[in-house]
């Protein structure tokens, strides 16, 4: 029998050790707990609640709960019977009395265009209805659209408590009433264009940032401190200025009678009648976004380059490598961690940008985030907005995952 080691108060050492370890972990957790709770309650839970709205239609379901129930027995092959139409009539009447028919109209209109006017016109004429029967005919008398079975089918579908159709809309698809999924008509397609444009802008801006930031960062890392500090301030100063101020400054610089065009005209490079269009198009979007996001590329690159010993390059050249060869084989690979950190930072920030492109880019500067904001603030179709936001979130996570696969997250260095 092996001798058990005991502590001075007679406990087994292994047990005592575990106890101490557990206490230490509890203390550590308790210390972090306030922050954890703060993040969970103010950040994680609200985000998931919001994302839940992309499939949640419970409110609508409550507004027309009886109609929804009666409609379950209607197969939708022919016009709905008196049971459906009368139930709907009474529920709409209650809605008008309590002033939520506007909400019903708005929500049903997300299902099928034309519902807003249909519900509103019907609501205004509801008091003239004869409650003894023939509700369908009376509905059709008020508005001929009620004679179109698609509106009743849309209502049946629109009162389901949960659905995933918003995700189809996100990619310009729709589900027909027979269950088939098709692209929406060409004139109404908007989201796919914007997704592609957003990705194009994000990739393009990341590339521009890289091209511009690489030489600057190199210069910063090799200059003596007193010069490099000055340069660093030049890089960081715009970083500390408000985003709106920077964007408006670009508008002053880039507009037709702006500083840049005026200079070009006065130098005789450009004729007065054919001033360059630098704003309200892609050019403006790229220029402004690149400048605004540049520090996010410079800082990681600089901090990585700072750690590369100059003697490595000297060693390479002393062994006969041309400067270009030494750069390609030695210096450049050593900056990979900085490049990848900077690129992923800039890309993720750029893919969610919307104020700058909207102000500088005009109609061409509408990106997917503008659509999310539009549906949050203007059309108030929060389900669609959150469906789009979810897709955007997933897209960013996929980029992150791919990055981890290809480069490895351990290789990312911010400093």
């Amino acid at each position: 029998m092996t001798a058990e080691i005991r502590t001075s108060d007679g406990e087994l050492l292994s047990i005592k050790l575990k106890k101490v370890e557990r206490r230490r972990r509890t203390t550590a957790f308790l210390l972090a707990a306030p922050l954890l709770f703060f993040i969970v309650f103010t950040y994680v839970i609200p985000i998931f609640q919001m994302l839940g709205r992309s499939i949640d239609n419970v409110q609508m379901n409550e507004f027309l709960s009886e109609t929804h129930e009666v409609m379950q027995t209607w197969d939708g092959s022919e016009m709905p019977g008196e049971d459906v139409t009368s139930t709907f009539y009474y529920e709409l009447k209650t809605a008008v009395e309590n002033k939520y028919h506007g909400k019903i109209a708005t929500r049903l209109n997300y299902e099928k265009g034309g519902f807003t006017s249909l519900i509103k016109k019907t609501s205004r004429k509801l008091e003239n209805f004869d409650e003894n029967g023939n509700f369908l005919e009376q509905f059709i008398d008020v508005h001929k659209k009620w004679g179109d079975i698609e509106y009743w089918l849309a209502m049946k579908r629109g009162t389901d408590a949960y659905h995933f159709r918003k995700y189809l809309t996100t990619f310009d698809f729709e589900q027909k009433f027979d269950g088939s999924i098709e692209r929406i008509e060409e004139k109404k397609r908007i989201n796919v264009t914007l997704w592609l444009r957003t990705i194009f802008v994000a990739v393009g801006v990341t590339f521009c940032c890289f091209i511009l930031a690489y030489p600057i960062s190199h210069l910063l890392s090799v200059l003596p401190t007193r010069y490099s500090n000055l340069l660093m301030i030049c890089v960081l100063l715009p970083f500390w200025t408000s985003l709106l101020v920077r964007t408006s400054s670009w508008m002053v610089l880039l507009q037709k009678q702006g500083v840049l065009n005026d200079t070009l005209v006065s130098l005789g490079i450009v004729a007065d009648e054919s001033r360059l269009e630098l704003m309200y198009n892609m050019t403006g979007t790229f220029i402004a976004m690149t400048q605004i996001l540049l520090p996010f590329m410079v800082l990681p690159l600089y901090s990585v380059m700072k750690t590369i010993s100059p003697s490595l390059m000297r060693a390479a050249t002393s062994m006969g490598a041309t400067p270009f060869h030494a750069f390609r084989k030695i210096y450049f690979p050593l900056t990979y961690p900085g490049i990848s950190a900077g690129s992923i930072l800039v890309f993720v920030l750029a893919i969610g940008y919307y104020i700058t492109p909207a102000l500088v880019g005009g109609a061409k500067g509408i990106l997917i985030s503008n659509r999310i904001a539009y549906h949050m603030q203007q059309s108030l179709d929060w389900s669609l907005a959150t469906a789009m936001a979810t897709v955007l979130l997933i897209a960013v996570l996929v980029v992150y995952w791919l990055y981890n696969k290809i480069v490895g997250i351990d290789n990312m260095r911010l400093g």
């Binding site: 034309g114 807003t116 006017s117 264009t193 507009q255 949050m376 059309s379």
Partner: protein
């Protein structure tokens, strides 16, 4: 007393003084020269008279913000200056207080009861009239691209071959669809009949022609102060906008601009009272003063929008030149009103009900059109 109640009452004591400040009313409007005219015209006089502080808040239209306030239960707005369309939508959704018009609003100085003194019937029970204004377009007479020939009709706005240059349009569908149909040959008085019948597509096609034309092109404005700025900076050759803002740029800022009234859209603007706003009773009293004969006439002293009351026009005409600013001095305002005979030879009367009924369809079509430009 338990410790908890003591604590609560102590907290209440500490908070109470900050809550007991003088009464105030939060009024939301469109900013710039327009809000300034409202502030000088009836906001400040009312504040002086009643001791109630009137706070002016800027916004760029629409019901989204107030809806968000109502949904979150934290309403901070009392009175909002809105389009007719939004009084209808907001009233339907129960956001605004319904008025008992003749009891809630005073008779005019001419003795007419309120409902007769206002030019037109209100579009909803929640609306009280404020001004008549116009959507028209203007251009910069100094712009070199005109080369001595100036536009004078709605057709000219849509004619990039004769007048090459970028146009600035309102960022949502309102006004653009009407202008496009008028330029496409639809009689101004029948614009909305055509809208029902494939008119939106027709208007968007006409706009596409202009915006994708190699000599044309379109940019968009969302705040009323932008069109004059874009004209002066040369960013746009012609810009649609609100006549009062153009007038302000011409008279007060001395900008070399001219308005074209052909095909103008005559539109009404309204005040609404938010249901459950933070100072609803005070706000109602303020609103009664704002929309009185003198109140509405007061704002016309500072901007070229016509007051909604007939009696306010009497007040103005009795005292012309009514308009006054430091830069321009005293100016006769009646000829600059959107309702002046010379300005209404060919005009569209805004149909807010069409917009209220078809809001979502119009916006969907418009946004898709804009994104695919």
């Amino acid at each position: 007393m338990s410790r908890l109640t003591k604590l609560i009452s102590l907290a209440a004591l500490l908070v109470a003084p900050s809550m007991a400040t003088a009464a105030e009313v939060n009024v939301v409007s469109w900013g710039g020269a327009y809000t300034e005219s409202q502030k000088l015209g009836y906001g400040d006089p009312y504040q002086e008279m009643s001791g109630v502080q009137v706070n002016w808040i800027d916004y760029s239209g629409g019901l989204s913000e107030i809806k968000a306030q109502v949904e979150s239960g934290a309403i901070t707005w009392d009175i909002i200056d809105v389009y007719a369309r939004d009084t209808i939508i907001g009233c339907d959704e129960g956001l605004f207080v319904e008025f008992d018009f003749d009891n809630d609003f005073p008779a005019g100085v001419n003795g007419m009861k309120a409902s007769d003194d206002f030019f037109a019937p209100m579009p909803s029970k929640c609306a009280v009239g404020n001004i008549l204004y116009s959507w028209n377009y203007a251009y910069n007479t100094d712009n070199v691209n005109f080369a001595g020939r100036y536009p004078d009709s709605m057709n000219d706005f849509f004619d990039p071959d004769t007048f090459p240059g970028v146009r600035s349009l309102y960022s949502s569908a309102m006004s653009n669809l009407e202008f496009a149909l008028v330029a496409d040959g639809v009689p101004a008085s029948d614009v909305y009949d055509y809208m029902e019948d494939n008119g939106i597509d027709r208007a968007l096609d006409k706009l596409s022609e202009l915006c994708t034309h190699p000599k044309g092109g379109c940019i968009f404005w969302s705040a009323g102060a932008q069109p004059p700025e874009q004209l002066v900076s040369g960013e746009a050759l012609m810009a649609t906008g609100w006549n009062g803002r153009h007038f302000n740029a011409i008279v007060n800022e001395g900008s070399p601009m001219k308005m074209v009234w052909d095909g103008q859209i005559l539109d009404y603007e309204y005040f609404v009272l938010v249901k459950g706003g933070p100072n609803q009773d005070e706000a109602m009293k303020a609103l009664q003063y704002f929309t009185s004969s003198e109140g509405l006439a007061g704002s016309a002293k500072h901007i070229a929008y016509a007051p909604f009351r007939i009696s306010s026009l009497d007040v103005i005409m009795a005292d012309e030149p009514w308009f006054y600013s430091e830069q321009a001095g005293a100016v006769e305002i009646m000829p600059h009103m959107p309702t002046a005979p010379a300005n209404t030879e060919n005009y569209v009367l805004m149909n807010p009900e069409w917009y209220a009924d078809n809001n979502t369809e119009i916006n969907d079509a418009w946004e898709a059109w804009k994104a695919n430009l």
